[in-house]
């Protein structure tokens, strides 16, 4: 074994197994998807604030990769289902524009440094953008009913015939608020889908509950959510962490709030996947239509 390889492995042991390289680039197709009679689940990622569409695609991709890596060791009931991945976009380009202006005018950031640090808490929590966010508090159009309706409609369509799919939502950050609201919208209709056909596994949630008795993971090292909890004590308590992770000091992930960070660091990664597994086991027992 070369010295570099030895040092790399030693570092991996020190930092946790999450830092070992992932398995091959080409994922095999899910065997259950070859069986037309196998039950289908729709797994949705819902993005948080300051997440552009491209980042949302990558977040959803990370979720899919991590899930598929663990799928062979999941319960037989989960392996027997064909899991299809989707995005429900929470449009945030307006907020990012505001941050961009604030970053350039008040912090003197170049455009390049702005985009390099967009996910870092350094920019997202910088005091100089307080005005931007304070404006949001008084701005009625920040409450996006159209998005809630669009998301709820997508879930209803998945559950209803002819799709007849169970739905698992994995929202990040502000996406948790949209997911809870969409859940209420779905079950607030006169014609309700079967109870338990829609479940949520929240990540980094600023909410005080997960609708439908869903599970969640918020890290004690998440600066953003920890700050929110200082102001609003009802915010769900932290129940995971990122361990000793270089992500915590990385400019791109500082603040411990990034979705990809949650799915890279341990134990948060394994715990989120375990929550998904137990939610899917529960979903397997429900006939959606």
């Amino acid at each position: 074994m070369s010295t570099n390889r030895y040092l790399g492995l030693s570092l991996s042991v020190l930092l946790g197994v999450a830092w070992l390289p992932e398995a091959g680039a080409q994922m095999p197709a899910q065997s259950a998807c070859h069986n037309a009679a196998a039950p289908r689940t729709a797994i949705y990622f819902v993005n948080g604030v300051t997440t552009t569409r491209d980042e949302a695609r990558l977040n959803g991709g990370k979720l899919e990769l991590q899930f598929l890596h663990k799928l062979p060791t999941m319960a037989p009931a989960v392996q027997a289902m064909c899991h299809l991945f989707f995005l429900n976009i929470n449009p945030t380009s307006g907020a990012v524009k505001d941050f961009l202006e604030a970053g350039q005018q008040r912090l003197g950031l170049t455009s390049t440094t702005f985009w390099q640090g967009l996910e870092g808490a350094g920019l997202a929590t910088s005091g100089v953008i307080a005005q931007v966010l304070q404006r949001s508090v008084n701005n009625a159009d920040q409450i996006d009913q159209e998005t809630i309706q669009r998301h709820a409609s997508a879930y209803r369509e998945q559950i209803a015939s002819p799709s007849c799919r169970r739905v698992l939502i994995v929202p990040h950050s502000q996406g948790n608020l949209y997911s809870n609201a969409s859940y209420d919208e779905v079950y607030g209709q006169v014609e309700k889908p079967p109870l338990g056909a829609l479940k949520i596994v929240g990540v980094a949630t600023p909410a005080d509950a997960v609708q439908g008795g869903g599970l969640y993971r918020t890290s004690s090292t998440d600066v953003l959510i920890s700050g929110i909890r200082l102001v609003l004590s009802g915010t769900l308590p932290a129940n995971t962490h990122w361990g000793i992770s270089p992500l915590l000091v990385s400019p791109a992930y500082s603040g411990g709030h990034s979705f990809i960070g949650y799915l890279t660091a341990e134990p948060s990664r394994t715990q989120i996947l375990t929550d998904m597994e137990s939610s899917l086991i529960a979903l397997a027992s429900v006939n959606p239509c």
Binding site: E22, A25, Q26, M27, A29, C33, R53, D54, R57, L58, G61, L65, L68, F85, L87, P91, S93, G94, K97, L100, L107, G108, L109, T110, S111, T113, W115, Q116, G117, L118, A121, G122, L123, T125, S126, G127, A130, L133, Q134, S136, V137, Q142, I143, D144, I148, Q174, L177, A181, Y183, D184, E185, G188, P206, V223, G227, L230, L232, P251, A252, S254
Partner: protein, 174 residues
């Protein structure tokens, strides 16, 4: 209706929460910014540079970005990654130039998704840092950054189909 009111309250609360957070983490964020060097002033391109920029070889990617990709992802070992990153760069360049068109923005957003799926297939453990890096190079002026966000705005309610992970590699252009 109750659910809607609940949602409004929660979403309002999100904003209030965030403002509260700003006050509690101001010192920390200052440290983070200074430590990460994000305040550093580096040479930036002319603010009057056009959105399209210079593309002397007409390959659909700005010359400065071409040079950056070839320098950063050099060698045979990175040949596949070099192509994947250039595929994304090309899709972003088209998105910027056509940001005023809803129809073209949708087409280019789909092209960006395919390019990102290719990138995830090529580097499943590194794709995010590669993405952050190349996008920062592509959006190196305020006008390019705004065009990118405008292009996103054009398709904010669109539902762009995703390729499943076992098909991501098929999104790679040769």
């Amino acid at each position: 209706m109750i659910g809607r009111v609940h949602a409004e309250n929660l979403l309002c609360r999100w904003c209030v929460d965030t403002v509260g957070l700003l006050m509690t983490t101001g010192v920390l964020s200052g440290l983070l910014l200074s430590c990460s060097g994000e305040n550093s002033t580096s040479a930036s391109p002319s603010q009057t540079e056009s959105i399209a920029g210079m593309d002397a070889d007409a390959n659909g990617v700005r010359d400065d970005v071409d040079r950056y990709i070839d320098t950063t992802y050099a060698g045979q070992v990175n040949a596949d990654l070099n192509k994947a990153v250039r595929q994304y760069a090309k899709a972003v360049q088209l998105s910027l130039v056509d940001a005023d068109s809803h129809t073209l923005s949708l087409t280019h957003a789909t092209e960006r998704f395919r390019a990102l799926e290719c990138l995830m297939a090529r580097r499943p453990d590194e794709f995010h840092t590669i993405f952050v890096d190349i996008r920062a190079q592509l959006l190196n002026t305020p006008s390019r950054s705004e065009a990118y966000l405008n292009a996103d705005d054009q398709v904010k309610t669109a539902n762009i189909p995703l390729l499943p992970a076992d098909q991501w590699v098929t999104a790679c252009q040769s």
